[in-house]
Amino acid sequence: METTIKFYQTDTFTVGNRLLSEAERSVQAGMQRTNALNSGHRACQGCGEALGARFAVDAAMRATNNQLVACNATGCLEVFSTPYPESSWQLPWLHSLFGNAAAVATGVAAAMKVKGKQHIRVLAQGGDGGTTDIGFGCLSGMFERNDDVLYICYDNEAYMNTGVQRSSATPPAARTATTMPVGQHANGNVFGKGKSVPLIAMAHEIPYVATASVADLRDLEAKVTKAMSIHGARYIHIHVPCPLGWGADPSHTIKLARLAIESGLFPVFEAEHGEITGHRAIRAQVPVEDYLKLQKRFAHLFRNPKQVDVIAHLQAMADRNIRRFKLLEKSTPPTGGAAA
């Protein structure tokens, strides 16, 4: 019997990685791999944040020839990677508080400068809570001073470490421990404009801002690599599904991340000095329902009677992203593919 191999969405490199030339592939395994974040940490099965962090930090390590220091905000990534007396980190790593990773990184960068060790580069990382909420002041200060720091936000759309409470990156209608779809929150998290830190970062006109996703590790690596080729404040916002918080199957992490992009709910783009310079096109828009249905945090929308208007509202958000970031037009990623 003849087997047909379907190259579904080669553009995302999820299947297509091995079809690329050697130089362009994501390195997912291999003895030479830098492996900044060792295996054996205590993240949940299928954790998007662990995957995103491993690829992002590894890419930064490669880009800097291992001359890298990481500062971490409190949150899942910090907790699952450093339970005393174990540490998963293979690079100098510092955790101070929930809300100060950006400022701590500023301090590290200042020390490197004053010591004449500017070849040692600085990475700050935190969850969406540590970034969009409590650490927002420090982040904005770091941007405004244009400190030589790459800040990476791992956006799993809630405070996962404290048991899945809402953050300002939680999408409308989502169920969290503090936005249960009962009473005044009949539809889960309230509808609002949401807080887009990538757009706010752009308003600071810093040299580089990008969004990325674990659905497209090649693109993620390319963006981190590009970010490390630039000095000054840089920001990358990575979408990382959380099986535990979203009520999703651990084997669906990448699928969910991809559906978030393909529906238009999570726009993938790049910006330099406040101007959008590239976006990752979606091939054919999928209805947001396909994405929502796979997650228990949206289950209340599909109970009898189905919350058609709420789903339509979310669809409208996705459609707006598609128009705003021109997601159905051909990709213009300066870093995608072979660039960078």
Partner: protein, 417 residues
């Protein structure tokens, strides 16, 4: 070199001589002149190399200092009052991580009601934060303590707060001997960190520690502070040899060896207290004083031995533990536990209320006659308090006390009643 100089500028010059590598600045009165002067000194290249970072909050100031210190740079910042409380979380963090940051506090009261003037409520609210706390009596001592503070912090890998009375010292112009760079260099070696973020030797700093080791970590913090009790007198001694000046140390007794009444205090008020002691000694009153220079770790033994022959102890303090009384007095009480001496708490000078010689004289005389209450508030305007208490008890919606008192005094809005 002897200079007629503002306290803040003297402190800034002392900091400059210590060769800080990262300075974080966020303004708050009465600390502002310190960081402003440092900014100018960095701009003029008088401190070089040095990164001077204008941050967006005190929380960021301490956080930047944490990052810089962990990366091996000598880090400094200064704050006061609301600023210190705003950075509180990071203050604890700096000591928990064992980072030898030095910070000046231009002591100021904490609102509400908002008040920019001097008292010690701010630094005392951080007394358990794991920082060493030194209190300067004069601007000369403020200068000298900063130089000792860096050495102390770096030898123990523990952060140090140098507390300088706001306005009374920070804004006072007086003669101060600013040391020479070579002298300071000879006293304070370059920073050699106990731990450092270095790609050549990666370390994880700030890991999550559970019940299996947390208490041990805290014990070690306590142990380090206890080490400081031994090291501080040694460093003060070495300072005297290097600079020819007696500055710092744990406690400073004054005419107290044979005194019946000993007055205990922190910071600049000791100057006034000593004047009154001298005056009363001339009149034959058996009185002396004890200035506590190192408040954390609390030098319990030194305090006890300085107080052991007194018949009564009067603690004059610029802070209030609401609902109990004095903060410093509690420490003093513990130091003399078992000696059966009355310890009187005098809450004085809150929010910058002047502590006059006249008031102290009356107070000490009362003490000498054995009539001093256990707890009292120096120069409290009883009529204002009684009026407000009556109002609060009489009217359910009596409004904010501070505003009522001011209105009562005819100071504000007396016409809008």
């Amino acid at each position: 070199m002897l200079k007629q100089i503002e306290g803040s500028q003297a402190v800034a010059e002392a900091i400059g001589l210590c060769r800080p590598e990262v300075i974080c600045a966020y303004p708050i009165t009465p600390q502002t002149h310190i960081v402003e002067n440092l900014g100018q000194m960095v701009d003029k290249g008088q401190i070089d190399p040095c990164e001077y970072i204008n941050v967006e909050s005190e929380f960021a100031a301490m956080s930047v200092a944490i990052g810089a210190s962990a990366a091996g740079a000598r880090a400094y910042t200064a704050t006061a009052s609301q600023g210190l409380l705003f950075m509180a979380e990071a203050v604890y963090n700096a000591s928990g991580l064992g980072l030898p940051i030095v910070m000046t506090i231009g002591n100021r009261s904490i609102g509400a009601p908002i008040n920019i003037w001097n008292d010690h409520q701010d630094s005392l609210s951080m007394r358990d934060a794991g920082w060493i706390q030194l209190y300067a009596e004069t601007n000369q001592e403020a200068v000298d303590l900063h130089i000792q503070a860096f050495r102390l912090a770096e030898e123990l890998s523990v952060p140090v707060m140098v507390c300088v009375d706001g306005f009374i010292l920070t804004h006072a112009y007086e003669r101060v001997d600013i040391p020479e760079q070579a002298q300071v260099d000879a006293y304070l070696p370059p920073f050699s960190p106990r731990q450092m973020l270095d790609p050549a030797n990666p370390v994880t700093i700030g890991a999550m520690v559970g019940p299996e080791a947390f208490i041990e970590v805290r014990y070690l913090a306590h142990y380090q502070q206890m080490q400081a009790l031994g090291l501080i007198p040694e460093l003060a001694e070495a300072f005297q040899q290097q600079f020819g000046r007696d500055s710092g140390g744990l406690v400073k007794p004054y005419r107290s060896a044979d005194a019946d009444t000993i007055v205990v205090a922190l910071g600049s008020v000791n100057g006034t207290i000593k004047d009154v002691v001298d005056e009363m000694r001339e009149q034959g009153v058996s009185i002396g004083s004890l200035s506590i220079c190192t408040y954390r770790p609390f030098p319990r033994k030194a305090v006890r031995s300085a107080l052991q022959h007194a018949t009564r102890i009067v603690v004059v303090e610029k802070s209030l533990a609401v609902g109990i009384g004095g903060i410093v007095a509690t420490d003093v009480q513990m130091a003399v536990a078992g000696l059966h001496k009355p310890v009187h708490t005098v809450i004085a000078g809150l929010g910058g209320r002047p502590i006059t010689r006249d008031s102290l004289r009356k107070l000490f005389r009362k003490a000498d006659e054995g009539h001093l209450a256990h707890l009292q508030f120096l120069d409290l305007k009883h009529e204002l308090v009684h009026e407000e208490i009556a109002r609060m008890e009489g009217q359910r919606h009596s409004g904010p006390s501070a505003e009522n008192i001011l209105r009562g005094m005819g100071t504000i809005a007396s016409q809008i009643r």
